[in-house]
Symmetry: C2
């Protein structure tokens, strides 16, 4: 097909030929409002269609499926075998060896310190590695997730609560608030899952998370300077500036013994991490390194009585299982607001980490994790945890990776880990008495260093500059302002970007690729050519109240620009063709601009032609258009090619009739 005006012979025949090719745009099949509403609600809240498996099953089977849906353990439990158990036992012991030192370290991070006289002591960290995995093993749908306390959530919990309560001067209240926060975090997480609002975590974009993680890693590492340098008078603030000034104003407190020991173990841990990263089969090197460090450093301290030579140690720890803590939950009083706020922030953050980790490993092993169900599992786990002396837990990336590499086959590895931790709590606690704090600091630093993902940052810079700015915003916000403000800023900017894209949708002028009936962006496809007399615009976004005014004005500007250019070429604008293939939805404000546009275009002596309006748009245009102006077959085409061919033929036949 050729659209130039040059070949001016044989009009009637061409016209006939083309008319035969034209396909009618039909209105979409009718759907009732209820049906549409149902579809929208289903896609919003049940995008994974969880009830699909129930369809067409007998009632008994349905009950079994429902029970399996709620307790995934019923799904894999019956098929569980000895060989699977062997794999799980290895994986469980491996993650326990990682969980014990990490549990102690992260509790430190959350400012839940070893305070003598308190019945829970240091437990909270280890407890969090003990009860929640049992709950998750029953409810969770991921086979690889190793749950337990994680660095970021521990950090946020500690820093947010410390704004109002000091963990040193009021340790009981601090612990109460930590448990209350954990309860609210769990409640929030479970509610999100139950109300099918899981998509809220999607608002933390990849760029936000990378920036946030890196910032948090630096904040966490800076906090460890206290143990790594052996400083006793350290700031309680989290920001970069107060921490560094605290470090350099207390140079007299630096202890060379501590620094030496910290440096050696940090190097050991980082090398172990590096080895495991290069060779995934050597996963046990990095998995065992923290426990080896703890044992080695404890023996060293014990042998050389280093606690008398400037190396601070954990001190006396009480044995025994975690006591019930439901009597410590505080649902009234002046700190309730703080608990709820901290609960929501830590809840969202730990949910994001848990779900991201679950999805990553599910994708690796080609099974599926139901986001909303995971939320409920993680939420219930935290609610149970909050009444058994546990603080907030979730699926931890490093531990899940070790679990996966160690060959875990099911959540049983979590149970094995729980039992190992329980045994430790019951019998081995006094052994940790001489563990130096500096080693715990080194363990934390080596764990969070992996959160700084520089290649991903470079990739973001390469792909999307705005995302990079969002990332920087999260990063510097966390470092210089606060963890929660940095996060809020980054999320705000991401949403602003989306709103900007909505209020200013793209419109693109199309041209014909010669020798075809394909029409593409004139600017992108340099070989494409304008058709004389036609202005072909593609609207590349849904139309709604926020952009209808802009679109109206922008299209008028296109027309004016076309006319200004036209003036030189002496060819008149005859058709404004709007390609609607990308307009997936429209609202009443959007519908009304077409009427206005039609009027304006007709005043200029041209005609407005719509091409390929999609189902919903078509329907709404039809309803708003009582006169049938838009539905006239000479204003509505299925493809640009057909529109141009038909309309060109019409002009030609008009011209020839005129001549005749």
């Amino acid at each position: 097909m050729e659209y130039s005006n040059s070949s001016n012979t044989e009009q009637p025949q061409t016209c006939l030929e083309i008319t035969m090719e034209v396909h009618r745009v039909v209105p979409p099949p009718h759907q009732s409002t209820i049906h549409k509403l149902k579809t929208t609600l289903k896609e919003t809240f049940f995008p994974d269609d969880p009830l699909r498996q129930f369809k067409g099953q007998p009632t008994g089977k349905k009950w079994i499926l429902a029970a399996q849906y709620i307790f995934p353990i019923l799904q894999w439990g019956p098929h569980y075998s000895l060989s699977l158990f062997k794999s799980d036992i290895v994986a469980g012991l491996t993650i326990a060896s990682l969980a014990i030192p990490q549990g102690i370290s992260y509790a430190k991070l959350a400012n839940l310190p070893p305070i003598v006289g308190l019945s829970c002591l240091f437990h909270t960290g280890l407890d969090s590695s003990f009860v929640p995995p049992l709950v998750y093993a029953v409810l969770g749908s991921s086979r690889d997730l190793a749950v337990g306390p994680v660095s970021i959530a521990s950090l946020i919990l500690g820093s947010m609560l410390r704004q109002e309560v000091s963990p040193v001067s009021d340790p009981v209240l601090f612990l109460q608030l930590a448990f209350t926060t954990t309860f609210f975090a769990g409640l929030f997480q479970a509610s999100l899952g139950f109300l099918r609002l899981g998509f809220i975590v999607d608002f933390l974009s990849k760029a936000t998370l990378i920036g946030f993680m890196a910032g948090a890693a630096i904040i966490v590492s800076l906090q460890q300077l206290k143990s790594l340098l052996g400083i006793t008078h350290f700031t309680t603030k989290m920001g970069l500036v107060p921490v560094l000034s605290s470090v350099f104003h207390n140079t007299k407190e630096w202890s060379w013994q501590t620094i030496l020991m910290g440096f050696c173990f940090l190097v050991f841990l980082l090398v172990a991490r590096h080895v495991s990263m290069k060779r995934p089969k050597l996963f046990w090197v990095s998995a065992g390194a923290p426990l080896v460090s703890v044992i080695l450093s404890t023996l060293l301290v014990f042998a050389f009585k280093a606690q008398h030579h400037g190396i601070s140690i954990i001190g006396i720890l009480q044995e025994g299982l975690n006591p019930p803590s439901w009597n410590m939950l505080q649902f009234r009083g002046s700190h309730l607001g703080l608990s709820i706020k901290t609960g929501i922030v830590t809840g969202i953050i730990s949910l994001t980490e848990g779900i991201a980790v679950g999805r990553t490993f599910a994708a690796l092993k080609n099974y599926k994790v139901d986001g909303n169900k995971e939320m409920m599992a993680i939420g219930l786990m935290n609610m149970v945890g909050s009444s058994t002396s546990c603080y907030i837990t979730t699926g931890a990336f490093s531990r899940s990776a070790v679990n996966h590499n160690a060959g875990a086959k099911s959540a049983v590895s979590n149970i094995v880990m729980s039992i190992t931790v329980m045994v430790t709590l019951l019998f081995l606690m006094p052994l940790f008495q001489y563990t130096p704090n500096v080693v715990l600091g080194a363990i934390i630093v080596s764990a969070v260093v992996g959160l700084i993902d520089i290649p991903a940052a470079c990739q973001i810079w390469k792909i999307d500059k705005f995302d990079f700015i969002v990332m920087l915003c999260a990063f510097f916000g966390v470092i210089f302002i606060s963890v929660q403000d940095g996060l809020a800023m980054a999320v705000g900017m991401s949403i602003f970007k989306i709103l900007q894209q909505i209020t200013r949708p793209k419109t693109v002028m199309l041209g014909n690729i010669p020798g075809t009936d394909i029409f593409r962006d004139l600017h992108h496809y340099k070989e494409s050519m304008k058709i004389p007399g036609f202005l072909i615009l593609s609207i590349e976004a849904p139309i709604n109240f926020a952009n209808s005014t802009y679109l109206n004005e922008r299209i008028l500007r296109w027309i004016e620009e076309y006319e200004a250019e036209d003036h030189k070429k002496q060819s008149n604008l005859q058709f404004v063709v709007l390609v609607m293939s990308a307009v997936s939805t429209i609202d009443t404000s959007g519908v009304s601009i077409f009427k206005e546009l039609k009027k304006t275009v007709e005043k200029k002596g041209a005609e407005l032609v719509l091409v390929n309006p999609l189902g919903e748009v078509m329907e709404k245009l039809q309803k708003s258009d009582e006169a049938g102006d838009f539905m006239r077959p000479d204003c509505l085409f299925l493809t640009v090619g057909e529109a141009v061919a038909t309309l060109t033929a019409t002009i030609k036949s008009q011209v020839s009739n005129h001549v005749v």
Copy 2:
């Protein structure tokens, strides 16, 4: 072209034929980041390209254009002629006859009552009809806009200020706050215009405005029951419930004389309005009716001494021009927050009305109104007004319609109106002494009744049910809760809807329309057919962090559904074709799902094929894709038709090679 597998002969030839037709997808021309940023900023803040006219002009001409840009009066002033002036004088006198009674009535609505001893007295309403039009005449770009106080903004101003300050017990403070609010409203409006943030008013969708206007009209009318029934002890609240209970608890105060008079004049005004609506040429009937009512009722009261028979009158009014009021602006004190809040709400509302009115008449006469410039003009007008005893003003719909119908040619009609009002202020004020309040009430009711647009509401119900809900929300929110909360609820719901659409974009399965190479929605075009072995999905929205997870899962569900169906048919899924024509933008989270999808699809033994990625998407995919997986010519096509044809041919040739 036929895509069925039935015709299995002559493969090599077909293959050759088809290969010749395939068009390469090329990367878009390179643009630097700075250039892209510039384009985005320009489209966001300067969508109307205001500097276009300056291009290629000599420096002198540029200065003139700039001056004309700032003061549009310089544009039309030099061409102003006597014949134009004649038209403007008629229009000006007509709107003055409407402005005087409306000015007095609206000041009542804003609780700026005739308080003896205050130097401004009743002026504020009339003053607002006098100074601001002069400012607008110099700065404004609309030729038809008649500015002055409007009912909605008056109502909001009065009701919001009354929450903290009583206009009866503390009239001076109330007046000070009214002027301060006007100042902040003007400042806010001018800043929005200056910062090119005019698109903020676009967030008030048509549905929101219709619901809001109707609700406000009812609230305003209910308030008039006080004057219409002659009640003296009336509630100070705005809601439907307190007003009605106040009306029916004070039935003893109802005065039959007032009710009779009110009823007669209300019927007269409504009939006049109806006549003018049916025949636009009789515009003067409704334009003159309020003044006629005021004169007639004043004469009646004066003749029958009706003020002694239960009809309340305005009372003694002081003559003279409006005194400067800049000394009454309060920039400190406990009510500053209230002033700013009220200023922002009334500022946005009056801006929306002013700009909507300006745009409506500009579209009628085919000229253009620059939204951001209008905002600056309206804002400056209010800032000047606040220091000359005027409260908030904007372009009023009813008055502008009368202005337009009366044949106004330029902003001179505003000046004529101003002078008329000034003369009234100077010499005719005592004449209004006997004007009964009931007539002012009737004028307000007859004016706001037109704001209830039932046909538009029906239209919205027909086109978009969700918009209808938003409208109801605004309507009932305004009636039962408060003006500003009703508005906020409706705006919140509108934005929620957009975010819902973003997080849950549509994906549609396409089929081939037989006998063509057109592919359309299988559900919409019933004649379209699936191609065996192909799953063709069209993604109908930009991809970003908020929807990438959903899209990934949704596409996997499509694949699973296809496979489940396939199982019955015994034909394998070989290609997943993603049509990207509607994906106008993408971010880093969006880019990463394609890699995941590719992996998953390949695990299922199929291949992922992209069709027509647009410029930006193409570029980002290319950058993220170091291995060149997506850019391979057998995975990337310009049209679905070409993709299907080429890939079918490849399979056939493979099969035939295999057989050979």
